[in-house]
């Protein structure tokens, strides 16, 4: 089939090739990162310099627009950046190659999943530009606020063309698309492995992608149902979450967080998978504790679906429930400590080479460490009562989500760029990109811990009316955080320059420039539709680096010795 001549549209637009689909997801994800990042710049500027006009935007934000922007920033970074790049993008690009097959198990479903995702993106962007304004009820969409407070009787069908309805619709579409992708990952991994590729020879990336897909599919059902209920509340006037009609707004919080907490692991695991490939390659060392890492992540995955109500300590839940969710949440630190320490042990006594990809990978581990450890504060129900909905939470989740969605994604992009484009990104520009991004990220996120501890609560356009928060040093801390965000932006222009420069150069990358062991490096760069002339055969596990009594410092999975 791949030998036939294909029209441009079949080849690049409605393609069933997993690599094209992976690219499509990644490109949409990167574009949405610009949108989400732009919103962040606008409202951060507004926070640092309240009331002043905003360069590259216009007037200072009114509270309604401010609420809209923070809502979209959160939703976009989670569902339209981290998910499409880490799960769908890298997963599509790499899983078939890493298991040694020609394509996903269901290529047409795969294509459909991308186009549903694309539709969700369009719907979301439309909802941002409606004359009635964007949805401004927070990315957690708590009713009754997200159901317009049940003040007005919804008029059907006019209520469809409102920010909130389209926002929910976009989310439901996005979830649908990711479910279809997840099915493909799991079936491909189970059924399409090449000869010799046993389960425990799979690269850790493939394992983690599959566990992520599994967590996603286990947890997403309730929130899709919830989204439909909320859509009905908004459009035809049902009252699922309206206490005046026997509904319950807390029901939404359970449905949402039963999904929302595991969702963090859905994006964390692909990120750790990327890091888990990069660190062995540039340490010339086998991945430390490979099997244990899989078991630990399975334990963490299980725990992740039973701790959701730690987001509801302040919602007046039964205190005994608080006890249960606190214990579960804090104990998640144990398996993840094992994973992080194993990644560090992989570097121990290695022949480490700090390429840009390795810098981003190490930076991800260091930054994520802060995010993981500060999670213990919030897992404690006692302290969470104070810290909930303050900037302490904002700082904590930026120290988890930024390393995941930005640092790990960039690590992966630098690492696999030669494989999928045939060209290698410039290392000097890459290092500048890394250091600027890493330093400015910390400059942005660290001050937020102090603001949160001072009692600065979230989603406030202007702190001038809160006397305590309107004084020094808090005003200065807000300015520093904003400088951090602007710095992160500047760093990405270095990346853009690097991309343009590299893609325009004529230099061709080697097939296996990093001397890595996994199967994708056996394919052409870029791999053709169908990937292989003859399917590779696997002879060993994925991390045979620096074996003893050998002169070579790596033996790829596909080499018979």
């Amino acid at each position: 089939m791949h030998k036939e001549q294909q029209s441009f549209i079949r080849k690049y637009i409605f393609s069933t090739d997993h690599k094209v689909i992976g690219f499509q997801y990644t490109i949409v994800g990167l574009f949405m990162a610009l949108v989400g990042g732009y919103l962040a710049y606008v409202f951060r500027y507004n926070l640092a310099f309240p009331g002043e006009s905003i360069p590259f935007f216009g007037d200072a934000l009114d509270p309604k627009t401010y609420n809209g922007f923070v809502t979209y920033h959160g939703a976009i970074m989670f569902f339209w950046v981290a998910m499409p790049i880490l799960l769908a993008g890298f997963g599509n690009l790499l899983i078939p190659l890493m298991v040694g097959t020609d394509d996903m198990a269901f290529p047409t479903v795969n294509m459909l999943s991308f186009w549903i995702f694309f539709l969700s993106t369009v719907v979301l962007l439309i909802s941002l530009f409606l004359p009635s304004g964007p949805f401004d009820g927070g990315w957690t969409i708590y009713p009754p606020l997200s159901a317009d407070g049940y003040h007005v009787k919804p008029s059907f069908p006019a209520s469809i063309a409102t920010g909130g309805t389209l926002f929910l619709l976009a989310l439901a579409l996005e979830f649908t698309s990711m479910i279809m992708g997840g099915i493909n990952f799991i079936v491909t991994t189970i059924a399409k492995r090449t000869q010799g590729m046993t389960l425990f020879r799979l690269p850790i990336f493939v394992w983690f992608q599959n566990i992520a897909a599994l967590i996603f599919m286990v947890s997403v059902g309730p929130v899709v149902a919830g989204a439909v209920m909320l859509l009905l509340d908004r459009t035809v006037g049902t009252g699922f979450f309206d206490p005046a009609r026997g509904g319950d707004p807390i029901l939404w919080q359970h449905l949402f967080w039963f999904f929302g907490h595991p969702e963090v692991y859905v994006i964390l695991l692909p990120a750790l998978g990327i890091i888990g490939e990069i660190i062995p390659t540039f340490s010339r060392k086998p991945l430390f504790g490979y099997r244990m890492m899989i078991y630990l992540v399975l334990v963490a995955a299980f725990l992740s679906v039973i701790v959701w109500a730690h987001h509801q300590f302040v919602a007046g839940i039964d205190p005994r429930m608080g006890t249960f969710f606190s214990v579960g949440t804090i104990l998640i630190s144990v398996p993840f400590a094992g994973v992080i320490l194993s990644l560090i042990a992989t570097m121990f006594q290695g022949k480490i080479r700090f390429t840009t990809a390795m810098c981003f990978a190490t930076g991800m581990v260091a930054a994520f460490l802060v995010g993981g450890l500060t999670g213990i504060f919030l897992g404690s129900d006692v302290f969470d009562i104070y810290a909930h909905d303050t900037y302490f939470v904002v700082a904590h989740f930026h120290y988890t989500v930024f390393p995941i969605a930005i640092l790990a994604s960039l690590a992966g992009i630098y690492y696999w760029f030669p494989k999928f484009t045939g060209k290698q990104l410039n290392e000097t520009l890459g290092k500048i990109h890394f250091w600027l991004t890493f330093i400015f990220f910390n400059l942005f996120a660290f001050p937020l811990f102090f603001l949160g501890l001072a009692g600065q609560h979230r989603r406030i356009a202007n702190y001038e009316v809160f006397d305590y928060l309107a004084q020094e040093p808090f005003t200065t801390l807000r300015v520093i955080a904003t400088i951090g965000v602007i710095g992160i932006w500047i760093a990405q222009f270095v990346f853009l320059w690097n991309l343009i420069k590299t893609l325009r150069s004529k230099e061709v990358a080697e097939r296996n420039p990093w001397n890595a062991t996994t199967l994708e490096w056996a394919a052409d760069s870029p791999p053709p539709h169908g990937n292989w002339q003859t399917p590779p055969v696997v002879y060993r596990w994925a991390y045979e680096y620096s074996p003893e009594n050998q002169t070579k410092d790596f033996i790829p999975q596909y080499v018979q010795e």
Binding site: H151, P243, P286, L373, F383, F466, Y468
Partner: protein
Amino acid sequence: MKILPDRASSYAAEVDSVFWLILLFVSIGFVITLAVLLYAIFSKRERAKYFTGSNWREYRWVAFGMIGIALADFIILGYELKVWHKTQWLPEETHYKVGVLARQWNFEYYYPGPDGQLWTNDDIIVRPPQDTLVLPLNKKVMVELRSADVIHALFIPAFRFKYDCIPGRTIQRWFEPTKEGIYMVSCAELCGVLHSRMRSTVKVVPESAFQAFLQQKRMEPLATK
């Protein structure tokens, strides 16, 4: 610069102690892990040493790390769950009751009228333009939180107190103010357009002054209703 704001309730110090205890363990964990990471980076050699961590002798160091963090977890949980019990369960005896009714975008405060019950017609009500929750010093106060529209949250940083006000439910919690003064109150749950401006104050006064305040409110004509 103070890390945490002034404390003005009986359990604020204990809540803070949970923070400092966790900070202690987390800092130790962070410093050790970062040191190990740096040590790993500087242990690099000409040819990497081959080990896979698939036997106990190699894996034990990671296992010790996990045991260490598990121990820290249990110490933290053991302590913080005690404080949780103390702060969450209503004390046997509370001296006063106060109701909070949140609406877009202000808080209204209710004190029981002559019948001693909250949420009845004879309640003493503080509502805009007045916006101060007056409370008696060193008395346990039971708080009932309600909302008239969407979800809000009553956040009194100085009391280390924050609970949602949810339509259709009443949440009961308590606090005991321990320091005279005026403290900031904010709404900590996104509640619509003017969430950004939703604020209020708490004023803690001696019990006699509190009684006088109630007396005076009772005398006010019904016009304020």
